[in-house]
């Protein structure tokens, strides 16, 4: 990506103050999404919409080529295999994860997160995996544990590879959670007083800390990632790392804040194709 300029993190607060207003008010999820899409398409006129799933690689031919070479036969296949084993190994009662999902889990990720009217909260795919475990008499996996939930999602999410996200925000209660996620995206947090929007909206494509900043559009499509082909990181694991880097106290895995944020961010990527377990730098 030809970086527009290098951004000093402390200046982001000012940048955010000056330009926050135009996209800060919401007319509704679909209007939001379209505003984000047109904002980004205006900034990156030569990038196809589907290519946003590549994040910072989307306009970096050199990086993209490395990605493709590594993805053709990734070094983390062993972790995906471990996840496959977890997915396929029966619970003590003889049932398996595939029994908890439509079509054995194929394609289902496209509908996550969703808002559960009964439980009155956002349900993530990881929540559904744990619900399945509980329903079958097993202890839940810890959301942040690499070798259980991490590798399990590395495989289970890949069952939806190629499916396009189809996130629903259909009811007033669902909209409240979507809007809470949106508010967090625009909220200045931590000692650096930085908002997600400050980087991933207004400075997408610019360089910060020698890295090209990825746009929010497309981010939700490709989890978990394998940093350097080895360090497994889930979507909320990335929230944790990011908040720590902004010197903010992370909300915590499966917190209402992060589930709402995931709901909002995934809606932004509605219609984009999913691909799990990808290489990142």
């Amino acid at each position: 990506m030809k970086a527009v300029r290098t951004v000093h993190i402390a200046r982001l607060a000012i940048g955010v103050l000056l330009v926050l207003t135009p996209l800060a008010s919401s007319a509704g999820p679909e209007e939001d999404r379209q505003q984000f899409v047109s904002f980004f398409r205006h900034r990156f006129p030569n990038v196809a919409l589907d290519d946003y799933v590549y994040g910072a690689l989307m306009a970096n031919a050199d990086g993209r080529e490395q990605y493709e070479q590594i993805m053709e036969f990734p070094p983390f296949i062993d972790d995906i295999e471990r996840g496959k084993k977890l997915w396929e190994t029966p619970f003590r009662n003889g049932k398996t994860f595939s029994g908890c999902f439509a079509d054995g889990g194929r394609g289902v990720l496209a509908g996550y997160p969703y808002f559960d009217e009964q439980l009155e909260k956002v349900i993530t795919f990881e929540n559904a995996l744990n619900t399945c475990r509980r329903a079958n008499g097993e202890a839940e996996f810890k959301y942040g544990d690499r070798d259980t939930m991490g590798v399990l999602t590395a495989y289970a999410r890949s069952l939806s590879d190629g499916a396009r996200l189809n996130v629903r925000v259909d009811t007033p209660a669902a909209l409240t959670r979507y809007e809470a996620g949106r508010e967090l995206f625009f909220r200045r947090i931590g000692q650096l007083n930085a908002a997600c929007a400050g980087c991933h909206l207004y400075n997408a494509g610019n360089i910060m800390r020698m890295e090209v900043i990825s746009p929010a559009l497309g981010q939700a499509t490709h989890w978990p990632i394998f940093r350097g082909g080895e360090e497994l990181m889930t979507f909320q694991g990335r929230f944790k790392r990011c908040m720590e880097q902004m010197r903010a106290q992370p909300f915590g895995y499966n917190s209402e804040e992060w589930n709402d944020l995931e709901y909002f961010l995934t809606y932004l990527s509605d219609g984009l194709p999913l691909k799990a377990s990808v290489f990142r730098k």
Partner: protein, 107 residues
Amino acid sequence: MAQPIRMRIKLEHDFADVRVLIEHPMETGLRKDPVTGELVPMHFIQSMTATLNGNAVVEAQWSRAVARNPYVQFRVNGAKPGDVVGIAWVDNHGESNSTTMKVPAPS
């Protein structure tokens, strides 16, 4: 103990294209265990061979600077469907593994 050796073979018009992913930590000896704080000892593949019907076609000598879970792609002229490709490695601990796969018909 054997960690998998994954192989994909494609027969092109006059050569077999072989892609191999070997599971191996390829530890440099410079990395600290995040739990214990101790240096993880060097543990890496030193020698690797590829054979076709038992005849050596590729002989590789490696340092610890070959990547973790190493990947190798090579090509052998004159391979035919049914020919057997073998991959074997031995590391600095004296551990080894090997596998074979038949060249498939062209797709």
